[in-house]
Symmetry: C2
Subunit: 304 residues, 2 copies
């Protein structure tokens, strides 16, 4: 593969990874030789790739601010964890890290999202497919300041399903995200913008693309990640903000009725950072605008 | 698009559908003008297609014997039903039907599988992506005659989840099939070949790529399809065989403990047709070889 990289005509950057599961210690070529910038408008995936025929692959999305990726190492660690949960070969984290930096360097925007993808590849071929894709992110100022309307929806699984039934892949960030799309359509039918999943046995889990954070006075709570949910990278940064500002924070089981009792609820995610909930299941809610602004500043200030 | 079709150098046939959700009644060009045969080894899917980034699409797989598709209309009906469950535009069934016949005509083998795919297309573009793909099927004689080893695995959902939580898309045949792949790996770890899903509340559901049929003497039972499972096309043909041969058949709830009581258990599916279960959760089982052979003959004899 060529290492030649140029600013594309369009606004998006796509880098294909040759050998995305290669052993970093034994590579003979430099990492850059395994990266190839291509036109994002061209077609690069086979109809036989298990990523498309079965949603059989993993991904991560992170934010980059002024040339610096946010929480890159936690995202890479989560990608590796998703690979383990799917019995995929370990992704080459050195190669993905290099591709992320390359994509950011090639992108002309101050604020971009960077998506890391690895599929199981073409059925029977035994080689994974990998790419990194960067594009400009929209402006979330209105949602962050005014809040969003959220509905709770049943995810159908018990809160302990990741322990009892690991083959259901709960806690992995997979390409099988049709349900995570479907619930946004259900939210829209209910006049809402986003979703908080509840377990079948009544615990707060996460959003389809976010973590949930609750405020009780000076104490902040998020659902514990042993419930088949993702360890949120933005949520972790929010808890760092809490610790730095004298607040306490906790990971634990959160019964659904605590949503109504919380002083504030936020959804945290890599690209949108945090947004407060201003309406839950049709009921107006207040939220702490001061904490929202301060935490957002901390989250946006992350570099690497 | 060109209507020129030729036998490919390889053994596989790939036909891309232009405008797969077009209104059949108002087309001005002939159907064939919307079909384009391409090389299956080339790349035809964008990394931005929601089929690959979110597993956001639907599919069907059917068998073709000696130039004739099996249960084509039930498969087309199920494709349309999956589209409804995912709030996708209705697929053009005339166009998919034409593409299936074309793919079969172009395939040099007497026994082929034909896969119909429709994705939501590139995010924001508002146009679905569609293709039909045909390849030779392997020989399943050994499994059909000797039976297979099966394990039961929890699907995590209650049996009534399709009614209570339709946003979970149970009963749709989607491209988000990572779990359906994952359970085969779990089965292999347990020394088995295939899986029967149980609902979280203890009912028999279906296999990851098959329906379940139980025999009790002259009476044949399959789980009712209001449990978020697919209406099996091969299972329906099996019940036709039952009716034609003086057996009775029934769709109903099947508590998991009935698996141990059944005289025979089969998994039915389009390409493998039916295979008997010779071992369930590590326990050897007998099965009715005579019914297996007769039903298989009926299933393989289907034309159109």
């Amino acid at each position: 593969m060529s290492t030649e990289m140029t600013h594309p005509a369009g606004t998006r950057v796509l880098i294909l990874l040759d050998d995305p599961t290669g052993d970093d210690a034994s590579r003979t070529l430099p990492l850059a030789a395994h990266l190839r910038q291509v036109d994002a408008d061209d077609l690069h995936v086979s109809v036989l790739d298990l990523g498309v025929t079965r949603g059989d692959g993993i991904f991560e999305t992170l934010d980059a601010v002024e040339g610096s990726p946010q929480s890159l190492e936690p995202h890479l660690a989560r990608l590796a964890n998703s690979a383990r949960l799917l019995d995929l070969p370990a992704p080459s984290l050195d190669l993905y890290r290099e591709a992320v930096h390359r994509a950011i360097a090639l992108s002309p925007y101050p604020r971009i999202s960077v998506k890391l993808v690895m599929t199981r590849g073409i059925e029977g071929a035994g080689a994974c497919t990998g790419w990194v894709y960067a594009e400009e992110i929209p402006d979330f100022t209105a949602e962050r300041e005014n809040g969003i309307r959220v509905v709770t929806l049943d995810r159908g699984y018990r809160h302990d399903v990741a322990q009892t039934s690991p083959w259901l892949l709960q806690g992995a960030k997979t390409l099988s995200y049709a349900v995570n799309k479907s619930v946004y359509r259900e939210a829209a039918r209910r006049g809402a913008d986003d979703v908080i999943f509840l377990s079948q046995d009544g615990y707060v889990l996460e959003g389809p693309t976010s973590s949930v954070i609750l405020q009780f006075g000076q104490h902040f709570v998020t659902p514990s990640t042993d419930q088949g949910i993702l360890a949120g990278t933005a949520q972790a940064a929010f808890f760092e903000f809490c610790e730095a500002n004298g607040y306490t924070s906790e990971y634990r089981l959160v019964p659904a009725d605590e949503l109504a009792q919380a002083d504030s609820i936020w959804l945290s995610s890599s690209v949108r950072q945090i947004v407060p909930v201003r309406e839950l299941d049709g009921t107006a809610r207040s939220f702490d605008a001061e904490v929202t602004a301060a935490a957002l500043e901390h989250l946006l200030g992350r570099r690497s």
